[in-house]
C-alpha cells in the first residue's frame, strides 16, 4: 500500500508538473495522460475500481484524445512553441497565486484541529459488489441529478458542435 502510494504519487505529481511546464503541447498532453493514469491508479488503490475504469475510459479515452484533436486542428503539426511563447503575461502573478494557495492548503491540512478530525486509517469493510450499488444509487437516490446530467451532456454536445461549426456555416 505505502509503496504503491508513493510510486503512484510520484507519477501523478511528475505528470502534472510536466503537463504544465513542457514546451511542446503534444508532450504536455502525453504527460497529462501519465497524470491521468496516476490518478486512475490511485482510484484502484483506494478500492474505487469502477471510478478507476471510468477515469481511464473518459479522461484518457475521450478527453485526452479530444485535446489531441484540438491541438492538431489549431497548431502547426509539431506543436513546438518558441521560448518566448510559453508563459503568458503576468505569469509571476499566476505562479504566486498558486504558491499562496498551495501554502494555505498545506497549512490548513496541517492545522491541528483538522488533523484531529480526520481518521487516519481506512475502516475495515469489504469493498465488494460496489458497481451494482453505484448503479442502484444512481437510478434511485440520484436520479434527478442523473437526468440533469444527461441534459447537460446533451446541451454540451450540441453546444460544442455549434460553436465549432459556426464559422463554417457562415462561409457558405
Amino acid at each position: 500500500m505505502e509503496i504503491a502510494f508513493w510510486i503512484l504519487s510520484a507519477i501523478t505529481v511528475m505528470g502534472a508538473i510536466m503537463a504544465i511546464s513542457l514546451r511542446n503541447v503534444m508532450h504536455c498532453l502525453l504527460s497529462l495522460i501519465l497524470f491521468f493514469f496516476g490518478i486512475a491508479g490511485h482510484y484502484f488503490l483506494l478500492h474505487a475500481e469502477f471510478l478507476g475504469a471510468v477515469q481511464i475510459l473518459i479522461y484518457i479515452g475521450a478527453v485526452a484524445v479530444l485535446i489531441a484533436l484540438a491541438t492538431m486542428l489549431t497548431r502547426h503539426i509539431t506543436g513546438e512553441e518558441g521560448p518566448r511563447e510559453v508563459l503568458g503575461g503576468k505569469w509571476w502573478a499566476g505562479m504566486g497565486t498558486a504558491a499562496i494557495i498551495a501554502g494555505l492548503l498545506w497549512a490548513i491540512i496541517r492545522k491541528d484541529a483538522l488533523a484531529r478530525l480526520l481518521p487516519t486509517e481506512a475502516a475495515n469493510i469489504s469493498y465488494t459488489a460496489l458497481v451494482g450499488d453505484i448503479g442502484r444509487a444512481l437510478v434511485a437516490d440520484w436520479v434527478v441529478p442523473l437526468e440533469a446530467m444527461a441534459v447537460l451532456l446533451t446541451a454540451a454536445l450540441i453546444g460544442a458542435v455549434v460553436i465549432a461549426l459556426e464559422e463554417v456555416i457562415r462561409k457558405r
Binding site: 502525453l30 475504469a53 481511464i56 484518457i60 479515452g61
Partner: protein, 409 residues
C-alpha cells in the same frame, strides 16, 4: 489466478484422479512443490496466468498471420506462403527474424522519444486486455468485478499509441492516419460499448466470468448462448462490427488504407517497432474476439464443459475453438469486403450502429420484463426488425439507381 491457486493447493488429489498417468504426475508434483511455503504457491499462481498470456497469445498472433496469408491467398486464388517449412509453417518465425534484424529507421525530424514510445504503448494495452478474458471455466487471469469496463477502458487507451506514432513521425500521411484512427475509434467505441451494455443488463454483472457463467446450461451447454437471443444476435453483430473497426481491420482499415495514405500511422516505422505495432494490433483484435466470444458465443461453454479438471480442459478447448472461428471470420471478411469510405464509415457508426444499439438495449429490457418466452421472442424480434428497417430507410441519403454498364456486357 484464484483457480490456479486452488488447484495448487489440492493439486495432488486432482492429479491422482487422472487415469493412466495420474499417479505419476502426482508424484512428480509432490517432488517438485510438495510442502512448499504459501507464498511460493501464491507467486506461482500469479506467474502462471501472466506467462500463459505472454506466451500463448503472441503464438496465436504469429500463426494468425500465417493463416491470414494462406486464407487471403486462397480467396484470391493464390496458394499463399509455402516455402518455409511444410505448408509454410515456419513462415512466422522467418518473418520474426527478418523484422528483428532489419534496420530501425527513425526520420530525422521525428520526435525521437515519442516515436520510440508509440509501439510500446501499442502492445501494453493489448496484452492487458487478456487479463479479463476467461479462457476456461473459472480460468481468468484476474476476475475483476468491473472486468468488461476495464476491457473497454484499456482498449480506448490503445488509440493513444496510434496517435503518438502518427504524430511523432512528422509525416503527413502518418498524421492523417492518426487522425482517422482517432476519429474512427471514438466513433465506434460508442455503439460497441452500448452493445455490451445490453449483455451487462441481461447478466447483471460486469465481470467477464459471470457473463460466461450466465450462458452455461441449456441444451448441450449451447442453447443459452446469448447469440441465440434476438437481442444477443443483434448485439453480436454490432459488437463484432465495432470491434473490427476498433482494431482497424478491413473493411474498416481507413487509418492505414494503403491506396490512400500509404500505411497510415506506421508509415515511418520499420523493423522491430513495426513488428510491435503489428503485434499490438493483432493482439487487440484477438482479445476483442475473445471478449466477443465471452459475451455472445457462450465463452468457454460448450458440450461437455463444466467445472472440474476435465470439464475445465474441455472448456478451454471450446474457448479456443470459438476464438479460432472468430479469427477466421475476420480474415474472411477482410478477404472479401471492400473498404468503406471515410464519410460512410462515420455515418454508418452514428446513423445505424448507434441507434441500433440503443434500440437493442430497449429490446433487452423488453426481454427482461416479458416473462412469457414466446411473446418475448416475437416482440423483441419485431421491435428490432422494425427499427432496423426504419433506420435503413432513414439513413439512406441517396437512392441507388440501377447501374448501367456501358462497356461490360
Amino acid at each position: 489466478m484464484d483457480t490456479v491457486y486452488q488447484f495448487l493447493q489440492h493439486a495432488e488429489e486432482v492429479l491422482r484422479g487422472i487415469p493412466l498417468v495420474g499417479g505419476l504426475l502426482a508424484r512428480l508434483y509432490h517432488a517438485l512443490l510438495g510442502g512448499a511455503p504459501e507464498w511460493v504457491l501464491l507467486a506461482i499462481s500469479i506467474a502462471v496466468p501472466i506467462l500463459f498470456v505472454v506466451s500463448v497469445f503472441p503464438g496465436i498472433f504469429a500463426y494468425t498471420t500465417l493463416v491470414e496469408r494462406k486464407a487471403l491467398g486462397r480467396i484470391q486464388n493464390r496458394i499463399g506462403p509455402n516455402r518455409v517449412g511444410r505448408w509454410g509453417l515456419l513462415q512466422p518465425i522467418a518473418d520474426g527474424v527478418k523484422l528483428l534484424t532489419k534496420e530501425d529507421i527513425v526520420p530525422r525530424s521525428a520526435d525521437k522519444f515519442v516515436h520510440f514510445l508509440a509501439p510500446v504503448a501499442a502492445v501494453i494495452p493489448s496484452v492487458l486486455l487478456f487479463s479479463v478474458v476467461p479462457i476456461g471455466a473459472g480460468l481468468v487471469p484476474v476476475d475483476l468485478n468491473i472486468g468488461l469496463l476495464f476491457a473497454f477502458a484499456i482498449s480506448t487507451a490503445s488509440v493513444l499509441a496510434l496517435f503518438m506514432g502518427g504524430w511523432a513521425s512528422r509525416n503527413k500521411f502518418s498524421l492523417l492516419g492518426a487522425m482517422r484512427a482517432v476519429a474512427q475509434v471514438i466513433s465506434y467505441e460508442v455503439p460497441m460499448v452500448l452493445a455490451a451494455v445490453a449483455v451487462v443488463m441481461a447478466v447483471g454483472s460486469l465481470s467477464t466470468l459471470a457473463i460466461a457463467r450466465a450462458q452455461s446450461g441449456g441444451i448441450l451447454n449451447v442453447s443459452h448462448w446469448f447469440v441465440f437471443r434476438p437481442w444477443g444476435f443483434v448485439g453480436f453483430v454490432l459488437f463484432t462490427i465495432g470491434a473490427m473497426a476498433e482494431s482497424a481491420r478491413t473493411p474498416f482499415d481507413i487509418p492505414e488504407a494503403e491506396s490512400e495514405i500509404i500505411a497510415g500511422y506506421h508509415t515511418e516505422y520499420s523493423g522491430f517497432k513495426f513488428a510491435l505495432f503489428q503485434l499490438g494490433e493483432y493482439l487487440a483484435s484477438i482479445a476483442m474476439a475473445g471478449i466477443t466470444v465471452t459475451m455472445f458465443l457462450g465463452g468457454y461453454n460448450g458440450p461437455g464443459s463444466g467445472p472440474g479438471f476435465f470439464g475445465g480442459l474441455i472448456s478451454v478447448f471450446w474457448f479456443f475453438s470459438k476464438l479460432g472461428c472468430m479469427i477466421v471470420l475476420t480474415i474472411w471478411i477482410r478477404g472479401t469486403w471492400p473498404r468503406v469510405r471515410v464519410d460512410q464509415l462515420m455515418s454508418f457508426a452514428w446513423k445505424i450502429l448507434l441507434p441500433m444499439s440503443i434500440v437493442n438495449i430497449v429490446a433487452v429490457a423488453m426481454w427482461h420484463y416479458i416473462t412469457i418466452r414466446p411473446i418475448a421472442w416475437i416482440g423483441t424480434t419485431l421491435w428490432l426488425v422494425l427499427w432496423f428497417v426504419t433506420l435503413n430507410k432513414l439513413a439512406a441519403t441517396e437512392k441507388i439507381e440501377k447501374r448501367e454498364y456501358r462497356y461490360a456486357s
